[in-house]
Structure formats: structure tokens, C-alpha cells
Amino acid sequence: MNGLPQPGLAALVLLPLAGCGLCWVLRAPKRILAVTWLASLLSALAAAPAVWACLHGRALQEAQGWLALDALSAFHLAVMYCVFILSSAYAQIYFNGGLSSGELSLAQIRQFASLWLGSLAALTLTLISNNLGMMWVGMEATTLLTAFLIIVRRSPDALEAMWKYLLICSVGIAFAFIGTLLVAASAKGLVQDPGQLLHWSRLMAAASGLNPKLLKAGFLFVLVGYGTKAGLAPMHSWLPDAHSQAPAPVSAIFSGCMLNAGLYCILRYGALCHALPQLADWSAGLLRLLGLLSISVAAVFILFQNDGKRLLAYSSVEHLGIIALGMGLGTPGIFAALFHTLNHALGKSVGFFCMGRLGQIYGTNDLRRLAGAARREPIWGNGLLLSLLAILGAAPSAVFLSEFLILKAAVEAHRAGVVAVFLAGTCIIFISASRRAIATAWGEPASPARLPGPRAGLAATLLVALPLALLFCLGVWMPGPFRGALERCAAVLNGSR
């Protein structure tokens, strides 16, 4: 559109789909897994110029405004690609054992790879849609595709988790659609061309004329609907089961991309409410409420959690709650919440990587039985400890910084209640989870490991070390351009480009 030397936005959806097709042609499982990584990398490279331009303040529109990219979606797209590239690389390591022992068949790997790339395409569609209806279609497709990723290894537990996920999220998504319809009804007569009725940029431009009552009802439905996908309490009940039963790379994209995409959809509607003076406070208040509720619920369940993957899953509920809370605290809060989105995605991915491998090696996710993991498996054991400390907000990590900024925003807004609940929740979680993490990494071994397992190679070391290094660097020093990009994202939500 603006004469940039870059492939069209539609290509970003088509590229993973092409990779999907390739998976059905290839016959070697290892190659198929390699395709998932290559396709993720290529999509990221194809998106890079557009993402870069948008993070520097440009806005692209294509296909009569159906597809668009602004700073906010570009930022989420960038986070998503980071997580996908890391997780696809990790999938090669994770499935290696199952492949060589013959536990995983070619069909299963094909199923995994094509669904994986299909989810990438659907998530991309969600993020680059300017049309709220199209965004919904992307989100629904994500739900249906990822449901089968949970049961790559079929077991009664995985099936139970999948059914809960499928049903709860389908109902949630249906609610989101009702919300979309109500918002469309609130804009009746404002947008001349009925084909563009649901274009977000059009709605934003005409926001002051929206029917407040219908918009209010619409936002409620959207909040419950997409909030289910984002794993916000009290709609989070599918999340721990799905996260704990899915293969570890899938858990990583659940926490690192899908939950964020759900929240991203809510933010688009939140911006519409924000543009109406009589709804701005109300919608921000709801976000804060759900955020605090999620933090509290997570704190209660983490207190007694011995299953490593479930612990990480509840921690995702906590962090999505923190992000939602930040989003309800005005511009400084939004800035910090976006920063937190990146930090949580990186840290949580590494957490699932390490937990997944340890679970495979020890044959259990019970943290008590993993005691002494760091001595036996230095990379994965120490990785788990460091990533847990990082996402819990131990001092030099970027999570500490972003949580501190959110706290600061709450203090500046004179919200004592928010500060109290936030501090109490994060402290409880910090103490109970870090105690377990340290015991797991350095405690006395309780039982011998099941298989000796191949030694973690260079690739594994990099996968664990690089994101963690980035997290700890960002916590100490935030580069100017990065700060500028985050500020521009926050500006999109305030309605001022």
C-alpha cells in the first residue's frame, strides 16, 4: 500500500498453510518437524519489514481495509513469531525420543505439524484482521485446530482435557460473537458501506457516535468470550488441564501466543469503549477486576501445586491477570502490560521447554520426584529454576521491571486496593513457587530417573539460554527504540495514532 518492499499481509497467512501442505508430501518425520521450524522462521522473515515499519509508527491497510497492521498488532505478531520459532525448534528435541523409540508414528507427526502450522496461520489471521468478524473467525479456527494438538499422544486424560477445552472455549467464542454482533448493532447508520461495518479502524473513527448501551453489552459479552480464550478467572477452568496434558511445545504456544491473542481481541474492543467518555472508566474497571481475580485464583491454586506443568499453567492465569490489570490502569499501565506480555511469553516458553524435557526424562511431572534435577540434567534443571525465578519476578529479570511499572501505575492512580491485592497475590505465588523450584533443582534426589536420556546438546543450551539472557538484559536496560515502540502501541489503544 505504501510502496514498501514487502509481501502482502495475506501472504503471512498463506505461508504457514503452504508449509502445512508440504508436511503431507514429506515422508520422513524429522524433515516434517524441520518444516514446522522453517515455515515459522520464513513467515517471521516475511513479516519482519512490515512489523518493523509499523513499530516505527506506520500503519498498513490491505484488501479494502480487511487486513491491517498497526503498532499494537505488529508487536503481538513479533511476540508470536518469537515463541513459534523457539517452540518449533524445541519440538525437534522434544519429539526426538518418541521418534527413535517408535512411540510416535508418521501419521501422528504429520497431524502435529499440520495442526501446528495451521494454528500459526489462524493466529496470524486474528492479529492482522482489521475486521472484527474476521478476527473472530481466526480465533475460532485457533480453538478448533489447537484442540487436536492436545491429543497428539492419545490418553484418557488428554481426551478429557481436550473435551473441556473444546466445549468451554467454543461456548466462550460463541459469546464473543454475540458481543461482535452487539457492537456492530451499536454502529448502525454510522458506517455507510455495510461491507465495512465491522472494520475496527472505521469504528474507531466514528467511536463517539456509537450507541453506548449496545457497546456496553457488547463489551461484556466480548470480555467473557475472549476472556475464556485468554484464560482469565473465573473462565480459566479449561486452562490447567489443557496445558498439563498437551505436549510441552504446544503448552508453550498456548501460554505464549494464544492467551495473548485472546487478550489482544479484548483490547481492540476496550479501545472502542475508551473512546466513549461514559464507558472509559467502566471498561477499565472491569479489566482491573478480572485481572485481580485471576491473580488471586492463581495464588490459591499455586499454593498447593506439586505438578510442574499445572504450576506453570496457573502461573499463566496469574500473568494474564497482571496484563489485564495493567491494561486497566491508563497509559503507563498499558505500556507496562505490553512489556509484560513479551516477558511472560519468553519466560513461560522456556519454563515449559525445561519442564517438558524433565517430565520425559523422569516420567512424571511431580516436582517432588524431580528433586535434584539440576545436578542430573544441568541444562533443563537449571533452566527450569532460572525461568521460574524470572517469571516469578526475581529482581534483575524483565518481569520484575514490568510488574514494578504496573505497581507504580497503580500507586500513581491512587488505587490502594489494587496495590494490596496485587502485592499479596504475587508475594504468595513468589514464595510458594520459588520454594518448590529451588527444591526441584537442588534438593536431594527422591527416585532414580527412568531413562538416562541423551545429553542436552548445543541447540538445547541455546534454546534455554538465549531467551533467559534476553529477559535478564531487558530487566537491566531497555533500549530507546524498544521503549518508543511500546509507547506507540499504547497510543493505538488510546485512539491517537
Binding site: 478448533l144 490418553s155 473435551w163 466445549l167 467454543s170 460463541a174 454482533l181 496434558q245
Partner: protein, 214 residues
């Protein structure tokens, strides 16, 4: 034309009450099929202006999916699962009917509160849409079997379809198409899931699937 659409809407209310009170699975699938058929026909009557090719195509697709394809899929799942045909609700059918009637009243109140003054019989469409959607939700929450839950999801989708016609009328074509296809895939996916569940557990009683909890 008005009389016809009013009749259809009243029939939709009736199917909802039958769905809530019914206790034979085959019967429930039939009610849902009739409801889907009725819902699919409504857009043709909802617009007083001339019938466009687009409108006819969408209505035909909706009728084919909601009235024919979904019930067939569910019927097949039912035969394959070879389960007892009773619904076995968590709550009795008298109580269910009572809940149904309360939901109907609530839907009328909600539509009044939203305060969109619609001309004539469109006033009826919004509450019926809400009622159908909430009936579906109630079926999902209150029934034991995975199959009944899918049925509830279908009813919910019917309700959303009606809401779409009542609230917006002209949703962009591609979105409407996407929604219909999504519902189709969702039901299809749920059918496959039921197949797996049935094979793995030898039943599809959701309340017996309770291994994953704190």
C-alpha cells in the same frame, strides 16, 4: 409475510421448550433439526426488500447445515456410540421447564433493556434469539452426555444466527459464511472427539470424566 415470520418465531420458542423438557436423545436431535430449519428460513422473511442471490444462498446454506447436515452427524454419532437413549439430566425435567420459562422471561427483559426499537415483529426476534442461545447454554451445563452438550452448542448457534439477523441484518457476507462454516467444523470436530472419547472410555458421560482436578 409478517404473520409467517411471527409463526416461525413462536415455533422456535416451542422447540426450545421441547428441547429443555425432552428426555429421548433421538427426539432432541429432531427438535434441533426443526429449529435449525426454521432459523435458516427466517432471513428470507426478515428483509422486506427484494430477495438477493446472496440472501437466498445464505439461507439455503444455513438450512442445509442446520437442518440436515448437523442432525445427520449427530445421529451417526448416536448410533456409533450405541448408548442408552435417555438424556439423564442433572436436574429433573419439571425443573428444566421452569428454568426454560424463566429464561424466556429474562430474554424479553434483556431485549427491552437494550432498548433497540425495532419495527413490528422484529421486536420478537431479539428476545427469541437470546432465549434460544440461553437454552443452548442451559443444555450444555445441565446434561450428562457429551452428545447432549454438542446438541446444546448447536441450539446456541441457532440462537446466535437469529441474533445476527435481528441485530445487524446485514453482516458482511464473508463473515456470515465464515460463521456458518465455523459452526460446521466445530460440530464435526466435536463429533470426532466424541468418537475418541467413546472408544477410550467406553462411555461419554461427562460427569464420569473427572480425573483432572485439584
Amino acid at each position: 409475510m409478517n404473520a409467517w415470520s411471527e409463526l416461525i418465531l413462536i415455533l422456535v420458542i416451542l422447540t426450545n421448550l421441547l428441547l429443555v423438557g425432552g428426555n429421548r436423545l433421538t427426539g432432541l436431535i429432531r427438535f434441533a433439526a426443526v429449529q435449525g430449519l426454521l432459523a435458516g428460513l427466517l432471513p428470507l422473511l426478515a428483509h422486506s426488500q427484494a430477495l438477493t442471490a446472496r440472501l437466498v444462498f445464505l439461507a439455503a446454506l444455513a438450512v442445509a447445515l442446520k437442518g440436515v447436515a448437523f442432525p445427520l452427524l449427530l445421529g451417526r454419532a448416536l448410533r456409533e456410540a450405541d448408548i442408552r437413549r435417555e438424556v439423564e439430566p442433572f436436574v429433573g425435567s419439571e425443573f428444566s421447564i421452569f428454568v426454560g420459562i424463566s429464561l424466556l422471561a429474562f430474554s424479553f427483559w434483556l431485549s427491552e433493556w437494550l432498548g433497540i426499537a425495532q419495527a413490528g415483529w422484529l421486536r420478537l426476534m431479539l428476545p427469541v434469539g437470546f432465549f434460544t442461545m440461553m437454552t443452548g447454554l442451559f443444555l450444555i451445563i445441565s446434561r450428562h452426555k457429551a452428545l447432549t452438550q454438542v446438541l446444546g452448542y448447536l441450539v446456541m448457534e441457532n440462537g446466535i444466527f437469529l441474533l445476527g439477523v435481528a441485530l445487524v441484518g446485514e453482516v458482511p457476507f464473508i463473515v456470515e459464511l465464515g460463521v456458518l462454516l465455523d459452526a460446521f467444523v466445530a460440530v464435526f470436530v466435536m463429533g470426532i472427539a466424541i468418537h475418541h472419547i467413546n472408544r477410550e472410555f467406553n462411555h461419554m458421560d461427562v460427569h464420569l470424566m473427572a480425573r483432572l482436578k485439584e
